[in-house]
């Protein structure tokens, strides 16, 4: 048993406070006024921590969250999280892959910023973007379960596409230069390619 000046260490006191201390530590505290005081302090500090006043969260954050959620949902619809049956989608695939608006309806009404970019000879990259989107739209099942790392990767990639779309859609107001615009579209294509590879490479392991 501990005696004299051989007081309890902090971890032993904490264990006692949390109801985990050993018999010898407990016996020491019962006999030692100094350690009793230390233990009492620990109870007090914990109570003070719990009683600290709270901080007020920032106002107006929800609209930002909701906006992001809506954007994500639009994107997911466009990328084929809808309820398109595989056969029907396959039939449509030709239409989407060749990206000929006259031969079938686009997945969503074309947004102004896409049309604008098309007019700026970014056409090939936009076509490739659409081609990849329609691949996903066609071959992604209506509902899928991912393992955790894949789910994380998919959501990171989708977030990146959302960010890029936001940037691209605001590019005129932001005064984005042609070269940067091209890079951003390139980035979008690359991200989509990664997403396609991730989701379509090994469907049997990705889609359970």
């Amino acid at each position: 048993m501990r005696v004299g000046t051989n007081h309890l260490e902090m971890d032993e006191l904490l264990a006692l406070r949390d109801g985990e201390g050993g018999a010898s530590a407990r016996a020491h505290v019962e006999a030692c006024e100094g350690c009793q005081q230390e233990l009492e302090r620990l109870y007090q500090v914990r109570a003070q921590l719990r009683a600290l006043s709270g901080f007020a969260p920032p106002r107006g954050l929800w609209p930002r969250v909701a906006r992001h959620v809506r954007r994500r949902r639009r994107l997911r619809r466009r990328l084929g999280y809808g309820a398109v049956g595989l056969a029907a989608a396959a039939a449509l695939a030709g239409v989407y892959v060749v990206n000929d608006a006259t031969r079938g309806p686009p997945a969503e009404p074309l947004e102004a910023w896409v049309i604008e970019a098309e007019s700026q000879d970014l056409g090939p990259m936009i076509s490739r973007s659409r081609e990849l989107e329609s691949l996903l739209q066609t071959y992604r099942p209506a509902s899928q379960v991912y393992d955790a790392p894949t789910a994380l990767a998919v959501s990171v990639l989708e977030d990146r596409i959302l960010l890029l779309d936001r940037l691209l859609s605001d590019s005129r107001q932001l005064g984005v230069k042609r070269e940067l615009l091209r890079d951003l579209w390139g980035e979008r294509v690359e991200t989509l390619e990664t997403l396609v590879n991730l989701e379509l490479a090994e469907p049997e392991t990705v889609w359970r």
Binding site: M10, L14, R50, F55, A66, R70, R72
Partner: protein, 178 residues
């Protein structure tokens, strides 16, 4: 900040799980305080706490359909919030290690060398002076009631790591709070 008392009507939760944005907003309003404060306490600053709040609810909106209703909604949201906060903490630490170079010291000291206070200080100030990881462990254990095993797991470390961080935190507080 504890929110055990907070409950959101189960009908509302059901609507939220269907993706109803109005219902999700109600969930947000019910838990924004708790999530923000958790983020604020773990990360130690407003900016990161705001990120925790935003990231947590983006995740909640995305995944609430998977919440099975076993355990409390707050329990689940808190789990999301804690993991977002710890992720930010790690990112911040990595950024600092990248910036200042590996110091060879304990990682939790990187970028936040505790200055020696001149005299006794209050608890709020003392918390702010603790190294981030130490503060996070203290808060998760003593206030949120996580076990050392759980904290170890959340941080990708062991239970004894959590224990030694808690001891460190209280030794510091013991010195600073006279």
């Amino acid at each position: 900040m504890r929110s055990d008392a907070l409950t959101v009507a189960s009908a509302l939760v059901a609507q939220a799980r269907e993706g109803d944005l109005k219902a999700l907003e109600s969930v947000y309003l019910a838990y924004q305080n708790a999530v923000y404060n958790l983020g604020r306490r773990i990360c130690g600053n407003e900016e990161d706490a705001e990120d925790v709040l935003q990231d947590t609810f983006l995740e909640v909106c995305r995944s609430i359909g998977k919440f099975r209703g076993e355990g409390s909604l707050w329990g689940w949201i808190r789990q999301v919030a804690v993991s977002k906060a710890l992720m930010l903490l790690r990112r911040e630490r990595n950024r600092k290690i990248h910036f200042f170079g590996e110091t060879g010291g304990l990682p939790e000291f990187v970028g936040n060398m505790p200055r020696e206070p001149a005299g006794p200080i209050d608890l709020e100030t003392a918390l702010g002076r603790l190294p981030p990881v130490t503060r996070a462990v203290l808060w998760l254990h003593d206030v949120e009631g996580y076990t050392h095993e759980e904290i170890g797991q959340l941080m990708g470390k062991t239970a004894s790591f959590s224990k030694s961080q808690l001891s460190r935190a209280h030794r510091r507080l013991r010195e600073w709070l006279e």
